[in-house]
């Protein structure tokens, strides 16, 4: 089986959802829109299937499920099945040929970033909606660890809830249409959101940028008051800027994230430089015109790199609300258009 199972993000577009899952396909599409995304690569659904068939894990799972038979209807048994199946998967070593290929991609990533054993995040990328939280592993360093965590992401498709769902649907238990995204960990100096419409007034002539030190979670969750900039789309001038006292921020810890205090000297300082702000606006307007629709976007500024390579985007989607315009009909028509984008 010589079929390709790892892809560079720029090889992917949104129509590759079935191949690599939604997250990876979206990242590929963003690359094509001129948005810089954290460097990395995508492991396709075929990679998962190849692993399952070459290691024999697929057959073992099928056999186990067959033997368990009707007893799997009981919830206790489903909990046990989850444990057994995850053990089967995690006990397998990745076949040498696959491993070599994955190492190759990881080495190339290290080269791109210019750092040996670069820290990455491995995230699941589901092709269809399945219940149950699949795992994400942050701060993964070194190729052996990457291989281990990719296998862990695959095995995480077998939570109790996912097993119950598959049984109910009569789906093959040994199958899971999931891909894996392996992306460089962005060491976030600051992060935030950008809206190409003013959410409070529905004003489509302005871009709003909000940001805080550290990871974007604090801005998205609304727990702190971020810096806020309003920029005129036509003149690119900053119409208003509010620099807040930013007391708390979110940072990476060894196993996950944590809210910490912002160093005193940074609390009253704007988190973005003017040129960074302008770059954010430039890309945001480009993406808005690509979709012909106001966007709600998330960005991160990487501390390891220099401008403009340090601006990464992690998300773009249609902006959810804007205030009613003069004509509700036109506005409803626009909202209806958006439901086809979900």
């Amino acid at each position: 089986m010589a079929q390709k199972w790892i892809y560079r993000l720029d090889e992917l577009r949104s129509e590759h959802n079935d191949l690599v899952g939604k997250k990876c396909a979206n990242l590929g599409e963003m690359v094509h829109m001129g948005m810089r995304v954290p460097p990395g690569f995508a492991i396709s659904v075929d990679g998962y299937e190849r692993f399952m068939s070459e290691t024999g894990a697929g057959d073992e799972i099928r056999k186990y499920v067959e033997e368990a038979g009707e007893s799997l209807r009981k919830v206790e048994k489903q909990v046990e099945a989850g444990r057994v199946i995850r053990n089967i998967i995690e006990s397998k070593d990745m076949p040498e040929a696959m491993k070599a290929e994955l190492y190759g991609f990881y080495d190339e990533l290290c080269e791109t970033v210019g750092k040996p054993d670069v820290a990455v995040a491995t995230r699941s990328s589901g092709a269809v909606s399945m219940p149950g939280q699949m795992e994400t592993y942050l701060n993964v360093k070194g190729k052996r660890e990457v291989v281990r965590k990719v296998i862990r992401v695959w095995s995480s498709a077998f939570t109790t809830r996912a097993i119950a769902f598959r049984l109910e649907k009569g789906m093959d238990m040994a199958k899971a249409p999931i891909g894996v995204a392996v992306l460089k960990m962005v060491s976030a100096r600051c992060a935030g959101v950008t809206l190409t419409v003013q959410p409070t007034t529905g004003d489509l002539s302005k871009v709003v940028v909000e940001g805080n030190w550290g990871l974007g979670e604090s801005v998205v969750s609304g727990e702190i008051t971020p810096d806020s900039f309003v920029i005129d789309k036509e003149t690119k001038e900053v119409v208003s800027s509010t620099i807040s006292q930013k007391l708390r921020m979110v940072v990476f810890r060894k196993d996950g994230i944590a809210m910490v205090s912002v160093p005193k000297e940074l609390q009253g300082k704007p988190c973005l430089e003017e040129k960074e702000l302008q770059e954010i606006v430039r890309i945001a307007l480009k993406v808005e015109s690509y979709f012909d629709m106001p966007q709600d976007m998330e960005w991160v500024i990487d501390d390891d790199m220099s401008f403009p390579e340090n601006l990464f985007w992690v998300q773009t989607r249609p902006a959810k609300f804007s205030k009613k315009k003069e004509d509700d009909s036109e506005y409803l028509a626009e909202l209806m258009t958006r439901i086809f984008k979900m």
């Binding site: 959802n17 079935d18 119950a164 086809f340």
Partner: protein, 560 residues
């Protein structure tokens, strides 16, 4: 001997059709049991046309309607997805314009179409089938084909536009009020409306009142249901009752017992099913009042509206309320379109097909008028003007034999290309964002909650809890078995089943979504409906005591 296609050009061809799409789904709601060749031709040819026409007129951004194939009496469908990002964006621009008439003047749009299609039916009915020349019969048949084609255009254009509004409303309710269309409060928001189908029910109920006042109760309640009409004709009061009842049938009885087939009589031809409805209303006793029921549901809706509007930020209430009014029309549309479009058109097809069949029998082309159901229109054209010159029996015999075989072997639920599984296929359906696929065909997947220890898990189609004996109904003929207080268990329900909803306490259906028939009617009658349980008709037996908890989406079999 050459074997002709039933739906030429649209017979399922594994070699070519799997190239077009790896997954084809059986339309179980409409083509189980299998269609006769004549009906299959009409449906596959024009439902297919209508869906693509509607999707194109509206310029739906992600889907270009559905493609259909015919196989052994089954209709198989697949979605035509918009392939490139550029095309999606082009279509989006047009869609924003094309959807406006729905938002700006929904009633004007729908009523205009109703007038247009009723005009066509009136013209078709002008022809006296018994005295017409062959040439006029054929012309009427051709005109019926055009009417069917036009019906499907209106049908799918309206359906796509209406359901898009409904889905947006559901999304907004989820965003702003935290409820979706599996939530009882959501259902209160979209029920408590009058529509044509309920008006027909009300007329039937009024006839039951009149039967009681006229002392005809015994005629209805004693003896076989098949004999009601004959027994009525034996007494003065009954004759006068039947005269008015026939007038009512001529107006509103243009409906098939099975919505998507023409081989069963319409109410106009045989009013027995309608008289059974009258009988069932009589059995319910005098205290039943449809309007009082409706008033209660309307009141509940107004309260739900108020509660939900309070959760919506003030500056959004304007458009939110406009959207709500629009979404509320989708339930009405769902029922009314069955009456004005599908049922009526199919009754027109049956009318002319049997009219020609009678003539053909007289002139020797076939043995029985119903043999026509085994022909397709090109064959009808062959002998249409001079049926005395053609012997069509050899085709009828072969096709009838084939159809009988189809009836013995159920069609598979999906045709999948080798190496493609149902899971992937469902993924394609979901990804299409097709409003009809998601609200009528696929629905929400039930959430299995083992802690509830239910026997079946489904989704809420209409809120409430009820307990009673199960009555498994597999086809229309069995409807008269329904007793007051039963819980109906079926694969799905059809508009001509509506009157029995006043007798039953709850509904369990194997498949369906929040805009399918059982859900809408259940909401209007205020009885719980659990849908998408997949195995209701196989796991439950008539007579077993069952409990339906639609709020939780669960079904319990109480005596196993």
């Amino acid at each position: 001997m050459k074997v002709y296609d039933v739906v030429p050009g649209l017979e399922f061809d594994p070699e070519r059709d799997f190239e077009l799409s790896p997954a084809w789904f059986l339309d179980g709601t409409h083509s189980v049991p299998p269609w006769t060749p004549m009906f299959g031709w009409f449906w596959v040819s024009f439902c297919r046309h209508g869906m693509q026409w509607g999707a194109e007129k509206l310029s739906l951004p992600t889907v270009k309607g559905w493609d259909w194939r015919f196989m052994n009496g089954g209709g198989y469908l697949t979605l035509l997805l918009v392939k490139s990002e550029e095309e999606k964006q082009r279509r989006e621009k047009k869609f924003r314009e094309a959807i406006l008439p729905f938002i700006k003047d929904y009633d004007g749009l729908w009523n205009g179409f109703v007038q247009e299609i009723l005009g066509r039916y009136e013209a078709l009915k002008q022809l006296d089938l018994d005295t017409a020349e062959n040439i006029d019969l054929l012309a009427n048949f051709e005109e019926t084909i055009c009417t069917c084609r036009r019906m499907w255009e209106i049908h799918m254009y309206m359906m796509y536009g209406t359901y898009t509004a409904y889905i947006l409303f559901e999304n907004m309710c989820r965003e702003l009020a935290g409820i979706d269309d599996t939530n009882p409060t959501f259902h209160q928001l979209v029920s408590g409306f009058d529509n044509k189908v309920f008006q027909v029910d009300k007329r039937l109920w009024e006839f039951s009142q009149r039967a009681r006042e006229d002392g005809l109760e015994k005629v209805f309640l004693e003896g076989e249901v098949d004999g009601i009409k004959a027994r009525l004709e034996t007494v003065d009061q009954g004759r006068s009752f039947m005269k008015d009842f026939s007038a009512f049938m001529n107006e509103d009885g243009w409906r098939m017992q099975r919505m998507s087939e023409i081989n069963l009589p319409t109410w106009v031809e045989d009013p027995t099913p309608a008289l059974v409805n009258v009988k069932q209303f009589l059995q319910k006793g005098g205290d039943f009042n449809l309007e009082a029921e409706r008033a209660k549901i309307t009141e509940a809706r107004l309260e739900a509206e108020k509660a939900v509007l309070e959760k919506v930020p003030r500056e959004m209430r304007g458009w939110f309320e406009q959207l709500m009014r629009l979404a509320q029309k989708s339930g009405v549309f769902s029922e009314e379109h069955d009456h004005y479009l599908d049922l009526y058109t199919h009754a027109m097809i049956r009318r002319i097909v049997l009219g020609m069949g009678k003539r053909w029998k007289q002139e020797g082309a076939i043995d029985d008028p119903e043999d026509m159901f085994y022909l397709q229109p090109d064959e009808v054209r062959r002998a249409g003007i001079n049926p005395d010159q053609f012997d069509m029996r050899y085709i009828v015999e072969r096709r009838r034999a084939e159809w009988e075989e189809w009836c013995k072997h159920p069609n598979p639920p999906a045709l999948l290309k080798e190496g493609f599984d149902l899971d992937q296929a469902m993924g394609v359906l979901v990804k299409s964002n097709d409003p009809i696929a998601s609200k009528v065909v696929v629905g929400s997947m039930p959430q299995v909650r083992p802690e509830l220890k239910a026997d079946l898990y489904g989704t809420c189609g209409s809120p409430g809890v009820a307990e009673g004996p199960a009555r498994v109904i597999m086809n229309e003929d069995e409807l008269s078995l329904i007793q007051e207080g039963d819980i109906l268990v079926a694969a799905s329900t059809s508009p001509s089943w509506t009157p029995i909803f006043s007798m039953i306490k709850g509904v369990i259906v194997d498949r369906g979504a929040s805009l399918s028939h059982a859900a809408i009617v259940g909401r209007e009658y205020g009885i719980p409906v659990v849908m998408n349980v997949f195995e209701g008709t196989t796991k439950i037996r008539s007579g077993q005591k069952v409990k339906v908890d639609a709020n939780m989406g669960t079904v319990y079999i109480l005596d196993k």
